[in-house]
Amino acid sequence: MLRFIFRRLLSLLPVLFVVSVVIFSLIHLTPGDPARAILGQNATNEQVAALRESMGLDRPLVEQYLGWVGGVLTGDFGDSYFLRKSVTEAIGDNAVPTIQLAVIAIIVAIVLSVPFGTLAARFRGGRLDRSVMGFTLIGMTVPSFVLALALMVVFGLMLRWLPISGYVNPFEDFAGGIRTLIMPGIALGAITAALITRTTRAAVLDVLNADYIDAARSRGVAEGRLLFSHTLKNASLPVLTIIGLSLGGLVTGAAVTETIFNIPGLGQLLVTSIARRDYPVIQGVILFVTLIYLLTNLLIDLLYGIVDPRVRVGKA
């Protein structure tokens, strides 16, 4: 088991390498100069050149890349140009809201989607199925920013139930925190909810067609029990997969959602950092998000082993 995890962790390295190269080269190819951004618009070209030199931005790209990667390997992601703190600190501060948001979005998604997906599969072709599927199509279709604006107008402005924007850490003020996170959570989780609903439905349908369901039925097991004890465990594999995959989407969506709801998360940090060419932060955040995504999917692979006895990771 440990060996398996170790091997899997090792296999992440090439992926991270690719990501680091892509990100690094993309950022440095982008026009716009962090030195100029730092110094402001009135700086003379000499000042800018001097700062570039002291930041090491005048060195060859390969050298800069190696320097950065060397730092990363020793746990040093560098310092932000603008935030007056290290990238590690910045990520630490901003990861908390993003993770909370993602967790809430996933909870919203699962709470909505698993029961409805299961019921839709059970009553395939029926009215419930059709309306659930209709809703999922709409959920997949409405862009998250449109949904976010609609939620803000309705719940923030018209009903005034929830604050329009901002962020309160639920660990410091639970009620307040949930109040600030619930709208972004829904806006972010809608697409995931739709996806999981559809996956659940398809997976449950698959299971319902399996022989062992007929076998259990032939033993007189009640339909409701068939549905929720037999199928859910079997169907949880594809659902887990899709949850793992949508985590990437959640962080992506967070860039838009966090900007709209003004939540100090990684997405917003990234967007502002791109705008002001804060290279170390951009690189660090994307690498971090990628790592989280990969680790989540590794975790889900491990969960497979728990859910499905056939997947014995020790021997995989």
């Binding site: 982008t30 026009p31 716009g32 100069d33 100029r36 951004a37 730092i38 402001g40 618009q41 009135n42 003379t44 070209n45 603008f82 935030l83 007056r84 703190k85 910045a90 501060d93 604006l149 803000m152 107008v153 923030g156 402005l157 005034r160 604050p163 329009i164 924007s165 901002g166 900007t259 709209i260 709801f261 003004n262 100090p264 917003q268 940090l269 967007v271 502002t272 705008a275 002001r276 060419r277």
Partner: protein
Amino acid sequence: MPTPVTGASGIPRRRRSLRRASAVSAIVASGALVLSGCAASGDGGDAAKDVVNVVTPAQPSTLDPQISTESIMGEITGSIYETLVVTDENLVPQPMLAESFERSDDGLEYTFVLREGVKFHDGSDLTATDVVDSMNRWTRVSIAADGAFDGSEWTEVDDSTVKLTVPTASFLHLLYLSDIGTSYPAIMPSEVIEEFGDEPVQDIVGTGPYTLKEWDADQRIVIEKWDDYQSVDAPSSGRAGAKDAVLNEVVFSFVPDAATRTMGMQSGQYDVTPELPFDGLTQFQEDPNLVLGTYTIGPINLVYSDRAGGPFENVVNRQAVNTALDRDPIMLASVGSEELYDLVHHNMTEPQQAIWDTEVGKAAFNSADTAAAKALLAEGGYAGEPVTLLVTRDYTEAYNAAVVVAEQLKGIGVDVKLEALEWASYFDKYKEGRDEWDLTIIPQGTVTDPTQTVGFLPNRAGYYDTPELHDLLARFRAAPTQDDATLIFDEMQQYIETYRPLTRLGDAHNVYAASKDLELPVFNSHFVWWNASWK
């Protein structure tokens, strides 16, 4: 009333993310305006409110008052730092940290006597050394001091007296010393200057009635009432006089998305914003909980690239474009309402009219004569080559103007291609890539004097380096009084008309909004936090 307006120098207002520059500068009505209204008990009516929530688009990149040109910096540090002199409500310079000051008859020497018993936030006393160090640093690092204070020197006379010597007499000196917009001569402890040198300071230590309590990067800056503040014993007037702070805290929140800010104001989540989206004006006019106001933020300029071989290397083609443009539709699209723009034929803004005015160029201004423009184009040898109009989407007013300008130029047969970039790329190209564009539309801040405008600023597009120009600038800077300077302004404007380095499209106004329950004085483009209170 003549209103010498302070603000950023002739540089683009900085907006969006770190470079938001929405100086509340120059109120429409008069020097001072107190926002007030009937208590319409909004939903922010908590008991014993002594906190105000301000929402602005982005945080300043630094709070160093001598270096930063971002007006949000001025908004925040205006009650943290103090200067030797400030203007009262009649825009007359009054002493602040100085007990008194005087100018020598030849205008080459100024003497400032410091006020007794003034302390910094860190508890140390204000000394003449602090002042000299601060002022000398300001002379070096501030863009505002650039030019006008060349060759000047600050010296310590005794423990409580400092002296400024200048090479030539100029009306500009006191103007800039009492300016509290951006990169202003704030006084800070010598230790801080020693530590940071000419780099932006990170220890925000001043002498003002508020101290920096918290800076949560990209989220909020909180300033807090400083209980040990030693107020001037004089009635409060403008920025001068007594500062008896009432509000305990002012929280500046940074919300990048305009729609979110707007809704936040509407829902009462925030109390004040120095900047609503332009179209917010009509929308909020009916809102019973808010008081609105507008102020000039500065011109939107069309600047010509001087790239060799480009169509606008030839001044005739530049004049053709200037002749063709119909500014009203452009500005209407730009700011969305007739109430939110002025058309001014010279390089300064309308509120500055009393000081900076000229008849030069007035007659031919905004002719919108397409026939004449086409003729000029023919004369200039423009043969339909493609023209790139560079603009950034991060400033809607500039971008909106550009869309209409492009349409109008197509109308006279110019093959315009709009290139809209995000700010960082745009600015890089604007400064460094002048051979990659032909026209650009850039929003700029109000300036204190004409030398800060496009055409007179070196290292920018539109700066045609000739002896004639050098001579003109030197003479202007040496004008001992405002009247002398005003005379030379005619010549400067004639220079613009002849060389046409830019076409001014119009001056945009910003809309600010505040809760009706808030007593919030605004003076000379800035909220006066120490006189603000909840009703």
